[in-house]
């Protein structure tokens, strides 16, 4: 009995040792104990073929090429190194390039004014694909490139960096900012930033570089080729982070820009995974056993925007704050959710925090729109209390002006047209006339919206991990004929207090202080009734479960798309 117990003890000890050894192993890929959700060791080798819903025209992440999300998702994100990166939940974390968390110092770190410095320690093992070390000189060059490239899409934040100092043999980079910059994590990283290998460029103006190739890599993959038909990648043999050593020998991204064809291609097994936009009927269309369909709350949200000082109708009823407030209670959001969204995406909830979303960062204040419910009595009391009275046609009017406006969505968008069909009769019953004024997507998003040629519009916006809403809501960013329609604040909201708060928030790196400022902006946004948030659009992943395995749906909610972790995908 005693011998038997000792035997059991020995077995337990041996088992514990084996477990401990496995856990301490530095190379997950070599042990086969990958981060796979599928249990057994993942197979190495093979070609992973994936579909891309849009295709970039060019690859330079500094110029307007960077406007294409798919340039990041299908190409640059797998090759280019970043300083800070986003995990699958949208949190900023140090990338494998860094040896640890960056160190912030200076008075500006907490006060919003004064000196602001960040020290990045670069991992000694971090190298480019030719084995040359990644150093602070590459960051200094990259800063120059962002500022001096002709046609650089945005210099925001980079123009606040006074200098970058190199020390510790190039493995420490010290950034000194002229003013505190809260969104520092998006510089050379984050959502769409990278840094570049100095030796690969002739000079800082990169306008003619990285058009359709990358001659270097600092990520898990190297780009082997890129053209209008596909992009091919192979593992970067010098990549130092063994947790991200790719399982497959080759990755191919193929453009399939028609949504029906995209589904047919994955059903036919021509591609092994796609990242389509959420659309009605998706569940039924993909109901076959070899397909895995995953949903997660995405970073995009849909809202109804009521434009002040619309250039389509400068005398719009939405110049009247009471009308906008009444609209908050006249649009039946719950009916939209129940009748249009839930049949396909039953988990989607009402968005109550305006232009932030609960799954990205900590910025969403779910109390802001929580009081907003379909309430005909409140609509009546608000309007009639402000002097509006129903006319003989049943529509409210005040001082000869009818409560009538045009409502624009992109024609052909089944979801938005269904929302109009549901809501317009309900508004009419309440004495509000909404007239559909739909137009094709290209005209709406290229011309009418940037030039504020609508009164009310329904469209999506994207919540970034950084909570700044300055570009889309600041009074300084309203497109007008005088500034040649520059700026993204198409809503026309011009609240000086909110604009000041946005400026202050952009200069406040301290998350706690910033949270307070963001919530103040949210309260002003709600009290001015600028928009009616509806819901977060779900992200969708469809993969062939007979072809691929690993944590293939882990990045479904991520800012980098579901393909953000393809180094962990393997073939069956």
């Amino acid at each position: 009995m005693r011998r038997q117990r000792r035997g059991v003890q020995l077995l337990c000890l041996l088992f514990t040792f084996v477990l401990f050894a496995a856990a301490c192993s530095s190379d997950k890929k070599s042990t086969g104990a990958a981060s796979s959700s599928s249990g057994p060791a993942q197979k190495k080798g093979g070609t992973l073929i994936l579909g891309a819903e849009q295709w970039p025209d060019c690859l330079n992440p500094i110029t307007q090429c960077a406007n294409s999300s798919w340039m990041h998702w299908a190409v640059a994100g797998h090759v280019m190194p970043r300083l800070m990166e986003l995990d699958e939940k949208g949190n900023f974390v140090p990338s494998p390039v860094l040896a640890g968390d960056p160190k912030l110092s200076g008075e500006g770190t907490s006060s919003g004014t004064g000196k602001f410095t960040i020290v990045y320690d670069i991992d000694p093992k971090a190298v480019w694909d030719d084995g040359s070390p990644i150093t602070a000189d590459d960051l200094i060059f990259s800063l120059d490139a962002y500022l001096k490239t002709t046609g650089a899409v945005s210099t925001a934040g980079y123009d606040k960096i006074e200098k970058i100092d190199s020390s510790n043999g190039g493995k420490t980079a010290t950034f000194t900012f002229s003013v505190p910059y809260a969104d520092w994590q998006d510089l050379f990283g984050g959502n769409s930033g990278y840094f570049y290998k100095k030796a690969a460029f002739a000079g800082p103006d990169t306008k003619s570089d990285m058009i359709d190739s990358y001659t270097f890599s600092g990520g898990p993959f190297k780009l082997d080729s890129f053209d209008a038909t596909q992009a091919t990648f192979s593992p970067n043999p010098k990549y130092w982070d063994t947790d991200r050593t790719p399982f497959v020998d080759k990755v191919i991204f193929k453009p399939i820009t028609d949504s029906d064809t995209e589904l047919n291609a994955v059903k036919a097994g021509e591609v092994f995974g796609i990242y389509p936009q959420a659309s009605p009927g998706l569940k039924d269309k993909t109901a076959q056993p070899d397909l895995t369909l995953a949903f997660a709350p995405g970073v995009s949200y849909e809202a109804i925007y009521m434009l002040e000082n619309s250039l389509q109708n400068p005398d719009t009823v939405f110049n009247d704050k009471t009308v906008r407030e009444a609209m908050m209670f006249a649009v039946d959001r719950q009916a939209i959710l129940d009748q249009i969204i839930h049949p396909d995406f039953p988990d989607v909830e009402l968005l109550q925090c305006g232009v932030w979303v609960p799954t990205v960062g900590q910025w969403c204040d779910q109390t802001l729109w929580a009081d907003v419910k379909f309430d005909p009595a409140k609509v009546k009391s608000l309007l009639e209390g402000d002097g509006w009275a129903k006319g003989s046609d049943g529509i409210y009017a005040k001082a000869g002006k009818r409560l009538s406006f045009k409502w624009t969505v992109n024609a052909g968008n089944a979801r938005r047209e269904a929302i109009q069909a549901l809501i317009i009769p309900k508004l009419k019953d309440l004495g509000i006339e909404a007239v559909p004024d739909n137009t094709d997507a290209d005209t709406l998003f290229q011309t009418r919206l940037p030039q504020r040629q609508l009164e009310m519009g329904t469209y999506i916006n994207t919540a970034s991990p950084d909570p700044s809403v300055t570009t889309i809501l600041s009074g300084k960013q309203i497109p007008t004929p005088e500034n040649s329609f520059s700026g993204q604040n198409s809503s026309g909201w011009n609240n000086q207090q909110a604009t000041d708060l946005m400026d202050q928030s952009d200069k406040t790196p301290d998350p706690a202080k910033r949270l307070d400022l963001i919530h103040q902006i949210g309260k002003l946004l709600r009290s001015d009734a600028v928009l009616l948030p509806m819901y977060q659009l779900p992200n969708v992943t469809i993969v062939r479960n007979d072809k691929v395995e690993g944590p293939v749906t882990l990045y479904t909610p991520a800012a980098y798309s579901v393909f953000g972790n393809i180094y962990d995908w393997s073939l069956k």
Binding site: N67, D258, N264
Partner: protein
């Protein structure tokens, strides 16, 4: 005929200039390159971009700058600094491949069905081809293309375990260029482009053939004892082809337009996909040469049609 051709070509010059102005005005007024979808762009970034890319210059200055370069064969660079010509050239090549295959199918099937329908007028074949033609005419290409994908790729695979056809692309991932792989990828899109053409040409050919078959000279030919086969092939077909050939030459321009939808559905990186992407990106620099090439091809093919008319019908003199 040479003089006629030279005269027509000279007349084309003012047509091209007027077309270029119309194209420029239309393209510039419907694309907004300075207001790209750029969520991170501040107003100051957009203003800087507009200045760097010369988007603030007057329309006249932009037109003169563009047309003078275009007329010298310089297609310029996109707003993203990518040379226009290489991509456009590749797109033209792919479109020509698809267009040529679609054209062969259209003409081959359309004319054959038309001729048989005319010879066997009111037969079951004639009735069937008439019915199928109306079906082909009324079915939109995007719907037909998707049906082809579902039946010949997805269902075919379900029934037989494999399929030779593909839903999208021009080549398998492991291969490139021409050959069997390219051909098999282009079969479904080519049929999608061709389906309406087959319907139109079969009806057109049937009607033209019936006109000729009832003419006096054929009755004479038969009275002379010439075999029916020779009467149809040597005499009837040649005459019936005259209006069809002219129409088909003009129709090539329309084929390019029709490819836009099909290329998008089957992800063929030709001129259709090129145009759509350029329009979405606000890349007017890419759209202008595209449209001018279509204009030039229509002008040229009209000329070819007129010249062929003269060649096929000796009664017509092009002086």
């Amino acid at each position: 005929m040479v003089l006629y051709a030279v005269r027509r070509l000279l007349w084309s010059i003012p047509v091209i200039i007027i077309a270029s102005i119309l194209v420029f005005v239309a393209v510039r007024s419907t694309t907004n390159p300075s207001a790209q979808r750029c969520p991170t762009c501040r107003a100051e970034d957009q203003q800087r971009l507009a200045a760097q890319l010369h988007l603030n210059e007057s329309g006249t200055s932009q037109y003169i700058n563009w047309f003078s370069k275009f007329s010298h064969g310089d297609f310029g660079k996109t707003l993203r600094q990518k040379p226009v010509w290489p991509d456009l050239r590749d797109a033209i090549v792919v479109t020509l491949q698809l267009g040529a295959l679609a054209y062969v199918i259209t003409i081959g099937l359309g004319l054959t069905i038309g001729v048989i329908s005319a010879i066997k007028q009111y037969s079951w074949f004639d009735s069937l081809s008439t019915g199928v033609s109306f079906f082909g005419l009324s079915i939109p290409p995007f719907f037909f293309g998707l049906m082809m994908q579902i039946i010949l790729v997805l269902k075919f695979r379900d029934w037989f375990g494999t399929t030779p056809f593909f839903t999208s692309g021009v080549n398998n991932s492991s291969s490139s260029g021409l050959g069997y792989d390219r051909l098999i990828h282009l079969i479904l899109p080519a049929f999608t482009v061709a389906v309406q053409g087959i319907a139109i040409y079969s009806r057109y050919m049937r009607s033209s053939m019936l006109d000729v078959l009832n003419s006096d000279f054929l009755r004479t030919a038969r009275a002379k004892g010439i075999s029916e086969r020779r009467v149809i092939i040597r005499h009837a077909l040649r005459n019936a082809l005259i209006p069809v050939v002219t129409y088909s030459a003009i129709d090539i321009g329309a084929v390019i337009g029709g490819l836009v939808i099909t290329e998008q559905i089957f992800q063929i990186p030709g001129m259709g996909v090129y145009f759509l992407q350029a329009f979405r990106d606000g890349e007017y620099v890419k759209i202008l040469p595209w449209m001018m090439l279509v204009v030039l091809s229509v002008i040229l093919l009209n000329l070819v049609a007129d010249l062929m008319y003269g060649v096929l019908d000796p009664r017509i003199r092009l002086d």
